[in-house]
Subunit: 301 residues, 2 copies
């Protein structure tokens, strides 16, 4: 991919910072402008080599950009995309990295200036760490990035956004915003809810005796509470559906334990083990999405 002149990154945390570092390490942009609300984070991003210039002023920061990537918390993305669209040059491409897509994409549809080229994205990377100090140039290498065009998206814009993620080493998965949110409720948002509930349900007196199992199972509960509140609220109905399914399986396990139904207990545990072991092995096809850019295989873990 030929070098861009200027890329603007709105929000230089773990993801924004890592994108900046990857752009610079791969020689993909002459200038990387970091835009933030806290001078401290911008300074860290500069020190990490994630950005070449920084500003607290979004409109100034995006003014000369060919590409704008909005990496702010889910609750602020739509407003930041709108502000970027009003301030950037005609023809600039805009994307985001939000963990939910339907609400964000819907709230922007028809609300952006006519020439705006916006396509939503969601890199499946990150986790419980946060902030630019945790950023790395290879965070997205071999990771899946879901790109969510709508019927209103121009083919060229989808292709340009997909090519951008591919240029950072990521694999692109094309899905509708609605399918994205339904799948992510099951694969990411429910796991976070389950892990948080588990940590909150562990009596404080017992914490000195937790070991590897508890630490693994609750790891994501260490993520920022307010960022996750925004994700859950933005994907409420899908999260509630996934949660109901989870509560149903827990009720089956409880019933099997109460009844001493050992066969049922081992049946559920064996099915859980089978699904847990699947992602590393044979992967089923899902008609709701496709792997694009010639990446005909799913991401490795």
């Amino acid at each position: 991919m030929k070098q861009r002149d200027t890329v603007a990154i709105v929000g230089v945390g773990l993801i924004g910072g890592s994108i900046g570092m990857a752009l610079r390490a791969r020689g993909l942009a002459r200038h990387v402008v970091g835009i933030g609300r806290r001078a401290g984070s911008l300074r860290t991003a500069r020190q990490m080599g994630a950005v070449t210039r920084t500003t607290l002023d979004l409109a100034r920061g995006v003014a000369h950009a060919d590409l704008v990537i909005v990496c702010t918390p889910v609750g602020r993305i739509a407003a930041d995309v709108r502000a970027a669209a009003l301030a950037c040059r005609a023809g600039a491409l805009i994307t985001d990295v939000g963990s939910t897509k339907a609400e964000i994409v819907a709230s922007l549809e028809g609300e952006l200036p006519r020439q705006t080229r916006f396509v939503g994205s969601h890199p499946l990377a990150g986790g419980e760490r946060s902030g630019p100090a945790a950023a790395t140039a290879d965070l997205l290498v071999d990771r899946a990035v879901i790109v969510t065009p709508t019927v209103a998206t121009r083919d060229d814009d989808y292709t340009a956004v997909a090519a951008f993620w591919n240029s950072l080493g990521a694999r692109v998965v094309r899905m509708s915003p609605a399918n994205h949110d339904r799948v992510l409720a099951a694969t990411s948002h429910l796991p976070h809810l389950a892990a948080s509930a588990l940590a909150a349900a562990t009596p404080e007196d017992d914490l000195p005796l937790v070991a590897g199992g508890w630490l693994d199972t609750t790891r994501v509960a260490s993520g920022d509470a307010e960022l996750w509140r925004q994700i859950f609220s933005s994907n409420r109905s899908n999260v509630l559906t996934a949660l109901a399914r989870y509560e149903g399986v827990l009720a089956s396990l409880r019933h099997a334990l109460e009844q001493g139904d050992e066969a049922k207990l081992v049946e559920i545990l064996a099915e859980a083990k089978r699904r847990r072991d699947l992602p590393a092995n044979d992967l089923p096809a899902n008609p709701d999405y496709s792997w694009s850019q010639g990446n005909d295989r799913p991401p490795s873990h």
Copy 2:
């Protein structure tokens, strides 16, 4: 600790094999006898250097041992301890590594020959891996081993078992069998149940898009279904209590989501984060157990 002549390990899987490797690496036993039910596992244990001799015959294997460690699945431990007690020399010390303690210890109390020196143990190590091929000589270094004497246990026997675990680099925690099972239900058995339910509740079509969060949260669900069935069945009432507490927290999260109660949602998530981040920092005191052998600090993670 001075070298023992013969240690017998009944069941040479991950834990048994690791104990054997540690004994040999530290020069703590002249002979380590591996006793098992499958010639293949015994061969692997021999190849790993975990044992010096092997046999399929428990009575013959323990006949000359100073120390017998029963590392078989929870459902078989009591029977194997009984068989070892009948076949070993007077004065031999016997312990086990079972993930539950109350049922095992109670079923042995008063059922062993008079001179038998048995004290129950549970090393907090292992995880979803299994088999002797996964064994390592340092598996127990800096790990907590809970030792569970009863009113019938002689002080010397407790001290000898604790000293044995310390000699492998582990820290010893003294607890009653009942307290052990209550705490482990919260810190280990419920996490396994929660992780298994999550894996089982994830639609198979969505598995290609799982990322780090799902993989961490469900990791322990990869453990052997039958082994875990035995653990759950052996600690049923404590597991049901812990599960009820978990279902209560999930219900609060669901209610907060349904009602759009963002304050409640963030309150639970923040409390979960606080508890998740505690084990690495300040640890509360628990009156139900004590750290022994001069280890006045809890295990590191």
